[in-house]
């Protein structure tokens, strides 16, 4: 497969998965002119809207250039469509050092939610497959398509929907690195360990359908960090995980603070900013550190 695959996932919604995908994709593309593919696997299509804007996304949905249209054709109608035809290149309106960032998008639409349900219904009822076999099948299709792609990317970022769906499970199996954005408060970290253990190590019966995730442990990215006692204590507890006998996750040194600049940056559609202007100098610096740490985690030079 060409390019390193990074899945961004968490059971809980609202922890900053999409913001992490957008920010990291732009930081990686800005850092050394890397080519980045973003695959939106969330039916809310927020990453798609943030990159493409309303007009381009409407055009992509109309032309059947979305992940749900691809899976519908490929798995439900037996049409051997190619991934490449659904990927939209040069989608970012952000520039760095005078050049547009090289970010491509495989968008999603609201149809993805119903497609997943219809797919499970059809494949379990008519083909008598179980859930693990469906996950294995989707994993195989995406893996195969990525490896056959004529386009080459340095990084492939997958924005997963909240929870553990068949698409999220398949993405995690594909990933070289799983990033778990987490707000350091009680509710957001509740079940974090269980999520990492379950998803990462898998159920014993799934092992026959697809191999265990590659690379290192899932990496928790602390998001929306505020200087309050609760966050401080939670971060300390999470960072202590590395001393456990069998740690469930690693934690990025870089933390994303709660900043109005981040919300502002995500709202800057149609303004064609450069990378630093979009995120502000302070946040751009944090994102560059995150990109560096991500590369270290992918290269195995971290932990």
């Amino acid at each position: 497969m060409k390019g390193k695959v990074i899945a961004v996932a968490n059971m809980k919604g609202g922890v900053g998965k999409t913001a992490t995908v957008v920010a990291l994709a732009e930081a990686l593309a800005a850092a050394d002119g890397a080519r980045v593919l973003v695959i939106d696997l969330d039916a809310q299509a927020n990453a798609s809207i943030l990159f493409a804007g309303d007009a381009y996304l409407a055009e992509m949905i109309r032309d059947g250039r979305t992940i749900d249209a691809f899976l519908e054709d490929y798995l439900m109608r037996g049409k051997k469509k190619k991934f490449d035809s659904c990927i939209r290149d040069q989608i970012s309106e952000v520039t760095h050092l005078g050049y547009p960032l090289q970010i491509s998008l495989l968008a999603s639409s609201a149809e993805l939610r119903t497609l997943e349900l219809r797919m499970i219904y059809k494949l379990t009822k008519k083909k008598e497959l179980n859930l693990e076999e469906i996950v294995g099948g989707i994993w195989g299709v995406i893996k195969d398509q990525l490896s056959r792609s004529a386009k080459s990317f340095d990084y492939i970022l997958i924005d997963c929907a909240p929870g553990i769906s068949v698409l999220t499970e398949a993405s995690i199996r594909l990933a070289d690195l799983v990033i778990v954005p987490t707000i350091p408060d009680t509710l957001s970290t509740y079940g974090l360990q269980a999520f990492c253990k379950t998803v990462w190590q898998g159920q014993s019966e799934t092992a026959k359908f697809y191999k265990k995730p590659r690379g290192s442990l899932p990496h928790v990215l602390i998001t929306r960090r505020r200087p309050i006692v609760e966050h401080h204590k939670t971060v300390e507890r999470m960072r202590n995980e590395r001393h456990a006998d069998d740690p469930s996750f690693a934690v990025f040194e870089t933390e994303i603070p709660e900043r109005a600049a981040i919300a502002d940056a995500l709202a800057k559609n149609g303004t064609y900013p450069n990378f630093t202007n979009k995120w502000t100098v302070a946040v751009a610096d944090i994102l560059q550190r995150l990109a560096r740490e991500t590369k270290e985690a992918l290269n195995g030079s971290r932990h």
Partner: protein, 270 residues
């Protein structure tokens, strides 16, 4: 495979706003990359831009890495009307008519007392070489004395002239920035009747109003009755020392002498 120069030029023309609003080269390059789903190198971009410019389909502006705008199709660069050659006028061609308007009409409208004076000076080439927005195209200086009150009063107006395609929000900020040296800032816009750029007028007028900048619409540069003062400027509280230094560095010797004469109780020429 990268798109051809022709394909980029064709798409460039389609992406540019029909009302002639200028777009930064950097932004247009990104718009083209997104539209054509292919990286557009600066070399390819400027080849396409050169082609359109040569065919007189786009115009260019300086600043922030350059800007381009669509030239009106209905009014090609040269056409004959009643034996007179008309063409979109450049700023430099508008300078002399504006100078005459300021001297003959604008200053008369200020209603100065008989012993007051008004001075019109072209300052477009005078001032610090590296100063940003420090060279108004014209300044008008008025000086007068009062019957009962002591001393004299000097008012300094600055004028920023823009050609038909050249007026943007930034022009208003330019006129505003010049008021750091003057009391009143004006934007003079050559906007002929039924120009396609008229769609920008409400926004420019709103910006001028918000910033206390006067707006003069010049329909026909040679017909002073066609000049329309749409907004009067708001007086700025610029420190006297700054104004003094500005006049010292911008006024010609003759103008300086005239001004000193009025300030010292002599009779002016206006």
């Amino acid at each position: 495979m990268p798109p051809s120069v022709g394909a980029v030029a064709e798409r460039m023309e389609r992406l540019l706003p029909q009302d002639g609003t200028p777009v930064l080269n950097r932004v247009l390059q990104v718009m083209l990359s997104r539209e054509l789903e292919s990286p557009i190198s600066p070399d390819l971009y400027f080849k396409a831009s050169d082609q359109l410019s040569k065919e007189q389909r786009i115009g260019r502006l300086r600043g922030q890495g350059g800007q381009v705008f669509l030239l009106p199709k209905s009014a090609p660069l040269k056409k004959q009307t009643n034996g007179v050659t008309l063409h979109p006028r450049r700023e430099v061609e508008l300078m002399a008519p504006l100078g005459r308007y300021l001297t003959d009409t604008f200053c008369k409208g200020l209603d100065l007392p008989p012993d007051g004076t008004s001075i019109v000076q072209d300052t477009s080439t005078i001032g610090p070489a590296r100063g940003r927005f420090a060279r108004p195209d014209f300044i008008v200086v008025t000086a007068m004395r009062f019957r009962f009150l002591p001393g004299s009063q000097i008012d300094v107006h600055s004028f920023e002239l823009k050609a038909e395609q050249g007026a943007t929000d930034e022009s208003v900020y330019e006129a505003l920035a010049q008021t750091r040296f003057t009391h009143f800032g004006h934007l003079v816009w050559h906007l002929p009747q039924n120009s396609r750029c008229e769609v920008r007028l409400p926004e420019i007028e709103k910006q001028c109003d918000q910033h206390g900048i006067g707006l003069i619409r010049m329909r026909d540069p040679h017909d002073h009755t066609s000049y329309d003062i749409r907004l009067d400027p708001v007086r700025k509280a610029t420190p006297a020392a700054i104004i003094d230094g500005f006049l010292e560095s911008r006024l010609s010797d003759t103008h300086r002498q005239t001004l000193l004469r009025v300030v010292n109780g002599g009779r002016g020429e206006g």
